[in-house]
């Protein structure tokens, strides 16, 4: 899922400080799962904003709404009837949701309320870590199911580098060496011969480098 983290409230206050009617818009999917943009967080942010302005002597109207998703037209349509009550939206969905909402409701500013980070998994309560960078040419079959692009700090395809130490990456003891993980997995799978196969130079054109990407499925278009 897409993992996001909290934005400092001071930043959000700075975005909306001149508005009188603000809608805090949440999303029921990824950001709910990583407890940063769901219905509860909408309530917390809205209450905090109201209180901040109240103690300045201003009564600001902060509305609250959580959509199933902000990345589909159908769900964003659900607020069409109430959107005119507001001058600004703080969307606490991921960066996709913020933008899609802004594209749909062109007449008012849509501010991001969280910092979107990566595609990752929930390792433990309160801990999410990156697993995929969307390179568009998945090579997990050759690396024992562990991705050298997202789990190696240098995205080395023929690793490990000389800085791998005690199973940790040279950049931090908190970061496991992706290649140590791959080697351990290849060993467990009895596929250490795969290790000596040289991974060819990667085609990055389907990655960010190739430009903004699009998937068009002719078989699904109406």
């Amino acid at each position: 899922m897409i993992v996001a983290d909290k934005k400092p409230i001071e930043e959000i206050i700075d975005y909306v400080k001149d508005h009188q009617n603000i809608l805090v818009l949440g999303c029921n999917e990824c950001v709910t799962v990583c407890e940063v943009g769901g219905k509860k967080e909408v309530g917390l942010l809205a209450s905090a904003l109201r209180m901040h302005f109240l103690q300045q002597g201003r009564e600001v109207n902060v509305g609250e709404r959580t959509l199933e998703r902000q990345c589909d037209h159908e769900y964003l349509e659900e607020i069409r009837d109430i959107i005119d009550r507001y001058e600004a939206v703080v969307s606490i969905a991921c960066g996709v949701g913020v933008q899609f909402t802004a594209e749909k409701y062109l007449s008012l500013p849509v501010y991001p309320g969280v910092n979107t980070l990566f595609m990752g998994a929930n390792e433990a309560r309160g801990v999410w870590s990156e697993r995929c960078q969307g390179c568009g040419q998945c090579l997990l079959a050759y690396s024992g199911g562990i991705c050298p692009v997202s789990r190696c700090a240098k995205r080395i395809l023929n690793g490990p580098c000389g800085g791998s130490s005690g199973g940790k990456c040279e950049i931090s003891k908190e970061v496991p060496c992706g290649w140590q993980l791959i080697i351990d997995r290849l060993k467990a799978l009895g596929r250490m011969d795969d290790y000596e196969k040289i991974a060819p130079i990667k085609n990055w054109s389907t990655d960010r480098a190739g430009g903004p990407r699009k998937v068009v499925r002719e078989d699904l278009k109406l």
């Binding site: 240098k154 023929n158 791998s164 130490s165 950049i171 250490m192 990667k202």
Partner: protein, 310 residues
Amino acid sequence: MKPKTPSKLEKILTSGQLAVTSECGPPRGSDPGGIIRKAEMIKNHVDAINITDNQTSMTRLCSLAACIRLKLMGLEPVLQMVTRDRNRIAIQSDILGAASFDIHNILCLSGDHQSFGDCAIGQNVYDLDSMQLIQTVRHMRDEGKFLGGDPIERPPRMFVGAAENPFADPYEIRVPRLAKKIAAGVEFIQTQCIYNLDKFEDWLGKARDRGLTEQAYILAGVTPMKSIGMARYMKNRVPGMDVPDEIIKRLSGTPKEKQAEEGIKICVETIQRLKEAKGLAGFHVMAIEWEEMVPEIVEKSGLYPRPQGE
């Protein structure tokens, strides 16, 4: 084996003699004086001089420019190139730039992560890794073509090297990794500096058993310890560095004024012992910011004078 390039380093190695290389770090500014001075200090005691490439991600005068400077002084440079900072276009371009000055040695590296250096919040590239860089140089040299497929006018004629660290984790793949680099086309290897001789000899022995020492020239890296402080720092703070307790004990037992001298002694003893190692083709003396000691180390190890000319 006949040399495939005009590289002086390759010539010495193919003749069966032990080669000696060293390295210089370029300055953090545009004054070439430091490079010239350091190179002058060591030029008669080494066969080739590596120029590091923004080492530990600290922005410095680029390796290519410093190598050109050495070439113009009549010396033999080894261009160190990391893939952290350049995409494949810049890589091929810099290789051609080096080749246009008849620089014939390249050391292919991935490079330390930028978080170690002075631009920790910058981007990194890693379009290729060190293995793929080795393949690229060989492709440009032997096929005479760019990665894109077009022919190169006057292909580079470079002797291709890489680094290996026998002390990094996991140990069990360090020899397979060497095999992989050789399969990718590497012709010489410079290792990380050696303090744990037993472990190094074990690694070398395993490489020998696989026939790898016949396929590439392995140069043992050595670095003299300046002080017990440096020894402790390298033991505890540098990833992939193996400094045995005996070295720490030996240096801490030496009075402060004598520690540098003891460090040189340890370095010379290392070289003397490894001269006997089967399959070893030479030494890479890294005395960063202590280049003035290189001549002494080379002489005391019985590696002076260096073979001259053809």
